[in-house]
């Protein structure tokens, strides 16, 4: 149920994509997102989808797992599609009461939902193939120059890695508490939206209590191990560029430039 949300999870495997430097993957993701906004005709989806397909195939992550990630934004997708269909002015194809379906609307709806889907799956690929610790190490390294402007890069990276680390823990905890309350007859699956929201109180209260407890424990454990910020801190696995990373960078630049020249 709650475990079905795969977005943001790491999917362990041994592919080249998994072994790429986190910085490369981060840059690639940003580049991909930018590229998705470079075109405004349907033809642009062809190379974008092909690029993504190649990455998915190389990474060896099953399509079913990726589709499950899309399920998390299904509501947003439907919302986007419906409003685009109904709200865009254009040649009216069908009309019922105040609702008008226009040709432009249908086109927009298709365009937007395709773009959003590719966006979600594309950025999902980064978290599927990168462990949270690599991810934050990569981001810390990329944003280090911002330190000159007194941006607390290390602190933000640390907060991010903790937040990411806590996602599976809190999901598991939610699952556990839901089961415990279901064992006491709680019903999360029926009733209208208000009833369902109210049914979540017995889950959310213990969840918050435990999140605060965990946060306190973690802070204490970090202090006990002499954590005092990022100054002078070294890494067990420093990030290093390998040949595959340079090759990937070239490919990414090629892809974005190619997309930029799309009609």
């Amino acid at each position: 149920m709650i475990r079905d949300i795969t977005i943001g999870q790491y999917y362990p495997s041994e592919s080249v994509i998994h072994r790429l430097d986190a910085r490369v993957k981060f840059i690639a993701t940003i580049a991909y997102v930018v590229a998705l906004f470079l075109f405004d005709t349907f033809w642009g989806f062809l190379p974008a989808a092909a690029w993504l397909l190649v990455i998915i195939l190389v990474s060896g992550i099953p399509f079913r797992f990726i589709l499950k990630g899309l399920k998390a934004v299904l509501f947003l997708l439907i919302f986007l599609a419906v409003f685009n269909t109904l709200m865009t002015p254009g040649e009216v194809l069908a009309q019922w009461w105040i609702f008008k379906i226009t040709d432009k609307g249908l086109e927009n709806a298709g365009f937007m939902s395709l773009r959003l889907s590719l966006l979600v799956v594309g950025s999902g690929m980064m978290t599927y193939t990168t462990t949270p610790s690599q991810l934050t190490a990569g981001m810390e390294s990329i944003f280090r120059p911002l330190g000159i402007f007194k941006v607390p890069v290390h602190e933000v990276a640390m907060m991010m890695s903790i937040a990411l680390r806590f996602i599976p823990i809190l999901l598991e905890e939610t699952d556990k508490i839901m089961k415990a309350q279901q064992a006491r007859g709680a019903d999360f699956e029926s009733g209208n939206i208000f009833k369902r929201a109210k049914a979540l109180i017995p889950v959310l209260v213990p969840l918050f209590v435990s999140a605060f407890r965990r946060a306190g424990e973690l802070a204490e454990a970090m202090e006990a191990r002499c954590y005092h910020g990022g100054k002078g801190r070294t890494k067990l696995h420093p990030l290093k560029f390998a040949a595959r990373d340079y090759i990937s960078l070239v490919l990414i630049v090629g892809f974005v430039v190619g997309m930029g020249f799309m009609p």
């Binding site: 309350q181 007859g185 209260v205 209590v209």
Partner: protein, 283 residues
């Protein structure tokens, strides 16, 4: 209620790289009113097994019957099942959420759709049987001590009036006195209410002391199933599974090897004390 597991199998995350066989070919029958201990190494499938008992998890193979009725049947009422089989999860105090102790315990009965008066009545009864004083009814459960919180959480399940009570490590993380109190309480409730109890535990001592029958899980399969004597007689096999026999059994075995006592198969402290004091008096 009697419980029958027939070749139950459970696979987590089928078709992904997380796929894991958590239960394989588990078959057993628990008679009405039995006190069963479930032991096994961490990750042996105990928790998965007990979640099948009230339908929180559905088995991916095999069947589960209560009083001869298959719970995977479309007609089988899930709500009644949850009411009849109470599960107290590990660290149940982490599931407390209401503003007062009384309201938290009444959560279960209210979910059953009982009228307020009856729900209140059950709340008082349940709190009384776990030894929580009436004066704590309107206190926030978060202000209680660890041991009290656990009792309140157990009361929350007892208030459903289950016919089968499943407890996952109910004494974990408590001090020795707290452990004993909780286990004694469970044994007493079982006698008084005449219910079936399944006790999941890591402590061989606790299991030896309280249950009639032990089931041993190993690597997702039911490795042993028998009386306390039968199971603890297979010391070597248990040790291979990362389990053991009670400490007192080891001590008594050493004493026997030294020729100091003649009895074998001593599993509880009380028995050992009785035998040793007899021996001392004879001197």
């Amino acid at each position: 209620m009697s419980i029958t597991f027939d070749k139950v199998e459970h696979v987590y995350g089928k078709g992904t790289s997380f796929e894991k066989m958590a239960l394989k070919d588990v078959s057993f029958h628990i008679r009405d009113g039995e006190f069963v201990g479930l032991i096994g190494h961490t990750g042996s499938g105990k928790s998965t097994l007990i979640q099948h008992m009230n339908g929180l998890l559905k088995c991916t193979g095999g069947n589960i019957y209560y009083d001869g009725k298959d719970i995977s049947d479309r007609e089988y009422d899930r709500k009644t099942l949850r009411q009849n089989v109470g599960i107290v999860f590990q660290y149940p105090e982490h599931q407390l959420f209401e503003a007062t102790v009384g309201k938290d315990v009444a959560f279960g009965p209210c979910n059953l759709g009982l009228p307020d008066l009856q729900a209140d009545l059950r709340t008082y009864e349940a709190l009384k049987s776990v030894g929580i004083d009436d004066s704590l009814l309107d206190v926030s459960p978060f202000d209680l001590s660890g041991g009290q919180k656990r009792r309140v959480a157990i009361a929350g399940v007892l208030a459903m009036k289950p016919k089968v009570l499943v407890l996952d490590e109910p004494a974990a993380g408590l001090d020795p006195v707290g452990r004993r109190d909780i286990l004694e309480m469970i044994a007493r409730i079982r006698r008084e209410e005449n219910i079936t109890v399944v006790l999941v535990s890591h402590s061989m001592e606790d299991v030896a002391e309280y249950v009639d029958r032990i089931m041993v899980m190993n690597d997702g399969a039911l490795a042993m199933d028998g009386t306390v004597e039968e199971v603890f007689a297979r010391k070597e096999e248990l040790e291979e599974m990362g389990l053991s026999v009670p400490q007192i059994t080891l001590l008594m075995q050493d004493l026997k090897d030294e020729g100091l006592v003649s009895e074998t198969g001593i599993y509880t402290m009380d028995e050992a004390v009785r035998i040793l004091s007899q021996r001392l008096l004879k001197r």
